[in-house]
């Protein structure tokens, strides 16, 4: 059962997720080392591989507000984190979907660091507190990209379809 490894408040910006001073680093193999770089203790746990894949970051409203930098999504994806938030900012959510970072919209989520969470298709169950929280499904258009395995395969399919039709 995955654990909550980080519990955050509202309005966590992409500067907090991936500070601007690391933006010249673009490769998804290199961005994960700077995930939450200014949360030095948590970043150290990530870079020392002390956080198992599938671990959950819980956040409040407007997670990922600010810059469109895709590194914010690729850095978290690199650690295979799952983000369960009350709400997401638009560009971050789209980047996460495009790159296959699992994002879960859960408007009433209540969880603390160390809690055990079961993230199902329609609800999140906090096994530590016993409480159940409904998930808001992704809009259909975004789910189509998730189902394709991300935007790159989705766009590739469109490109080939166009070429055949063309």
């Amino acid at each position: 059962m995955p654990n909550v490894v980080l519990a955050l408040g509202d309005d966590i910006s992409t500067d907090a997720i991936y500070p601007g001073r690391y933006m010249a680093t673009v490769l998804p193999t290199e961005t994960p080392q700077f995930a939450f770089a200014d949360l030095t203790e948590f970043n150290a746990r990530l870079t020392q591989q002390a956080v198992p894949p599938g671990s959950v970051v819980v956040a409040g409203q407007n997670f990922g507000c600010g810059s469109s930098r895709e590194q914010a999504a690729s850095a978290l994806k690199g650690h295979e984190l799952v983000v369960v938030a009350k709400g997401f900012a638009r560009i971050f959510l789209q980047n996460a979907i495009n790159l296959g970072l699992r994002t879960v919209i859960c408007p009433s989520i209540a969880a603390s660091e160390g809690d055990e969470l079961e993230v199902g298709p329609s609800e999140v169950v906090n096994r530590t507190t016993g409480l159940h929280f409904p998930i808001v499904p992704l809009p259909e258009a975004r789910q189509a990209i998730v189902n394709a395995g991300g935007l790159i395969p989705y766009a590739r399919k469109k490109l080939l379809a166009r070429t055949v039709a063309g």
Binding site: A24, D38, S68
Partner: protein, 427 residues
């Protein structure tokens, strides 16, 4: 039923008679803009073509713009190498709208696009930068996207799976008082509706208060629409838009603007009385932590920043020069000025604004994003405070999580430079 401006633009770009809020469309793109993060777009673009047997060619090199601005001149070998890769790609793909680090064509992307006439009313504009909302000031639907999404645009010429957004109508009545600027208006609005108040929605600006503003002031408002979470901030084109494009941007070909229907359906209508507004300040560490200037007066500042895609335009440098001319930046305060483009730099030079600012003690920097995103050209020391005309004050934004950033108008920044504390420019 009437349509909002974003509905009408998306309908036209998707070759449909109408679209409804929530419809999923794939609009054709008129302009696709990137900056240094074009390096990542290139990687993702080539990845899309993997195993297709197709030669990677961008869909239309005339509709792609790449402007170096985030780290100019390069602050590191890594950035310089990214820029070098982009130059090679630009040459190989014959990308037309490329602005390198040059005094005869460079600047911040969100100034270069308007001043070169690249953005037209009714257009669909995407950029790998959240402040792409800026271009809504010219009546376009302009929004920020990620690098992978841009790679798909480069390949296909359209944005995949766009959901038609709902719209909040903002009506601005009356005119701003002297030394109160459009920056104060947008800070006030963000404070009112919060940093997520317009998430997934479009802000559409109306009213005589907007109509009376020059395009440069409108660009500031649309620029910061994203700080309320808005997908876009659109000012429907009017006579001023046409004047700007003809007289300032040198556009000579026909324009084809789009207007919202009078009976369009809005999610919400917000009214603002511009005449009653005073200067506003966003306090650390959120853009919506906005207060009237009275609540922050006397706060000591170490660094003043005037510039950025929000407030580095001629009118911004002019008001700062007017306030600082013949006076002196307070001891212990450093003041950095970043004109938004080299064109603006030259105009400000010709008009004596830069001399007035430098004589007062300001450091005139080269056009670019400068210290706004915390990479170079003006990091803050531990415990220091910046007062800045930029658009974000998140913790760590100016390169140091142990520092604080306040956001304000150019007039407030200039008045505060004189005293070393946050000061009211009306006094």
């Amino acid at each position: 039923m009437g349509q909002t401006i974003v509905q009408k633009i998306l309908a036209r770009a998707s070759a449909r008679p109408t679209v409804a809020v929530g419809d999923v469309v794939e609009p054709a793109v008129d302009l696709a803009m990137s900056h240094e993060n074009g390096a990542l777009v290139i990687n993702q673009f080539l990845e899309i073509y993997q195993r297709t047997g197709l030669e990677p060619r961008v869909w239309d090199p005339a509709r792609i713009a790449i402007i170096f601005d985030h780290r100019v001149p390069a602050e590191s070998a890594k950035t310089a190498t990214n820029q070098k890769r982009i130059r090679e790609f630009v040459r190989a793909q014959a990308i037309a709208k490329f602005h390198d680090i040059r005094g005869d064509q460079g600047g911040i992307c969100h100034q270069i696009l308007p001043e070169n006439g690249y953005v037209r009313p009714g257009a669909v504009v995407v950029g790998t930068d959240s402040h792409t909302t800026t271009h809504g000031a010219l009546g376009a639907f302009a929004f920020g996207i990620g690098a992978t999404e841009m790679a798909a645009v480069w390949a296909l010429g359209k944005v995949l799976n766009v959901e038609v957004p709902a719209t909040i109508k903002v009506v601005v009545r009356g005119q701003l008082p002297p030394r109160v600027q459009s920056k104060d208006l947008i800070l006030h609005l963000i404070g009112r509706i919060t940093a997520e108040g317009a998430n997934f929605k479009v802000l559409e600006f109306h009213g005589d208060g907007i109509r009376a503003m020059p395009t440069s002031s409108r660009l500031t408002i649309s620029n910061m629409a994203v700080e309320a979470g808005a997908t876009a901030g659109i000012v429907p084109a009017d006579e001023e838009t046409v004047r700007y494009l003809r007289e300032e941007a040198g556009v000579t070909d026909a324009l084809d603007p789009v207007a919202p229907d009078p009976d369009a359906t809005y999610d919400q209508v917000i009214e603002i009385d511009a005449a009653s507004l005073g200067p506003h300040v966003a306090r650390p560490h959120m853009v919506d932590n906005v207060a009237p200037i009275a609540d922050t007066l006397g706060t000591k500042v170490d660094q003043i920043v005037i510039g950025s895609c929000t407030n580095g335009r001629l009118e911004d440098l002019a008001i700062a020069a007017e306030i600082l001319k013949g006076r002196r930046v307070a001891d212990g305060v450093r003041m950095l000025v970043f004109p938004a483009s080299w064109k603006i730099y030259r105009e400000a030079l010709d008009r004596g604004h830069l001399a007035a600012l430098a004589d007062a003690g300001a450091v005139i920097m080269n056009p670019g994003c400068g210290c706004c995103l915390g990479v170079h050209q003006g990091a803050l020391g531990d415990g220091e405070v910046a007062l800045s005309t930029t658009n974000r004050n998140f913790l760590g934004r100016m390169g140091n999580p142990k520092a604080e950033v306040y956001l304000c108008s150019p007039a407030v920044a200039a008045a505060s430079a004189l005293t070393g504390t946050i000061s009211d420019p009306r006094k």
